[in-house]
Amino acid sequence: MTDATASKKDVADEGGMGYLVSLPRKVVTIYIPLALFVFILLFPFYWMTVVSVKPDNELIEQGANPFWVDNPTLQHIRHLLFETSYPSWLWNTMLVATVSTFLSLFCSVLAAYAIERLRYKGSRYVGMGIFLAYLVPPSILFIPLSVMVQAYGVRDTPLALILTYPTFLIPFSTWLLMGYFRSIPYELEECALIDGASRFQILTKITIPLAIPGLISAGIFAFTLSWNEFIYALTFIDASENKTVPVAIVTELVRGDIYAWGSLMAGALLGSLPVAILYSFFVDHYVASLTGAVKE
């Protein structure tokens, strides 16, 4: 592996010495591996799309070319939208993801500002604690949380998820926003302080407007994370109509031994679309903050 990596490396970094490399060599060392990577990373999506528009008889037919579909059909998608509770699952997911995202953003902005700019006693340790909190995985917390959710009487309601999702959203968005606030010049705040602005005014009138790009990326991340969440939703929600898309597809569309593959794939595809669309609009923010946060 390492030798292969090295031989890729020598083909000039970032174009600086790129002219030293001949085109045939570039094809072999860069374009072919890249094409393979892209093919493997994207193939499952192509596959989902093909299966979701394939009629059932073509799906189980032996010998036919599985890569293509002869008579595309919308029957699976129609079945999904009109004969299952798919619309209400979508609505639940959307509701939970939106509310918990805004809740977490509100908490995170205040916390990140306090840690990064007020620099109160012990803020460094709190910052470390926030980072460690992000490393606590949901697979450890779901059992005690299920006991708590039961005790508070919010089991099987969207509130159970809205209250628990911030446990992984707040640490992550606070961490992201701390990095963003650090990049805003301190002098702006000092000027406002001298002019008699209160800390709260500074936050709402100076820092937040300047941090809008950071807020957008934190918001997209939080929304994507809550859209993808699985184990809490699987544990805390029982009634079919209260489930979120990822859980409902796995538990409601798979019945017995006969899998409705077409509908399963259509459901997976439709469930992925909202985050994929959101992501495509803000892809630059997303990549920048992902890499920025890690560079810390």
Partner: protein, 316 residues
Amino acid sequence: MVAEAPKAAAPAYKISLWAQLNNNRDFLGLFFMLPAGLVLLLFLTYPLGLGVYLSLTDSRIGGVGNFIWFDNFIWLYHDSVFWLSVFNTLLYTIVASAIKFGLGLWLALILNHHLPFKAFIRAIILLPWIVPTVLSAIAFWWIFDSQYSIISWALTELGLIDQYIDFLGDPDNARASVIAANIWRGIPFVAITLLAGLQTIPQSLHEAATLDGSTPWQRFRFITLPMLTPIIAVVMTFSVLFTFTDFQLIYVLTRGGPLNATHLMATLSFQRAIPGTQLGEGAAIATAMIPFLITAILFSYFGLQNRKWQHGGRDD
């Protein structure tokens, strides 16, 4: 003397308690931390403690049970399925993380060249990481199907195999399949973050080394790798942690089968606690994960920090 004149006038306006508090950064800090702090204490710190407590009780679904000290752990110590799940988890984490790192670094090095449509390629490469794991796992489920697998079909057409592969029915194949699906999802994250690290390495270092007659391998080993180490540490900590605690992929693809060959600690904990209603035992399995997680964090913190030897010097 002169300075005292304004001081004497000062008591004319009294500073209210509220204004004083408003200027006290410790008070304000506490005030601003309140919402996030409350949520995290109530729903993160407290459940963490509650989880450890539950692991010492014989709780079942519906109520907290009696305190039974370490009986759950003693029971687990004699449970071969538990040890199998520990083995599976370690195998899954180590193999998947190592391959994700290798392939991710390779992809990052490729993307670090001048390429046509670079931004577009970068955007679509992240897709596997954006899409909900469960939903892409469903695609893999069908790809790994024993009768209709596209991989088996392609290999048969190429004449490489005569029999369809039973991807998820055979213990070893099942392990390999879930690891492959995990790698597929993890590569984009590793590649994109390492790419960001690569872009911070000054081009002039490579040019200077080339003029000095270094080989490509030397440039990779003595420039790229040391400069990249801090980011590798962060990325791999995340990668190892999330692979270790993975749940969704296994739940969809195999539910721990065949013969518990793919049960991870997280899936076993879920199976015992929720469908099996033995909350205490499930909590004990989850608690048993904590030492492994702490080890992983400490290892990456101390083991992968930027050290002098990586720059050719000696450690103190």
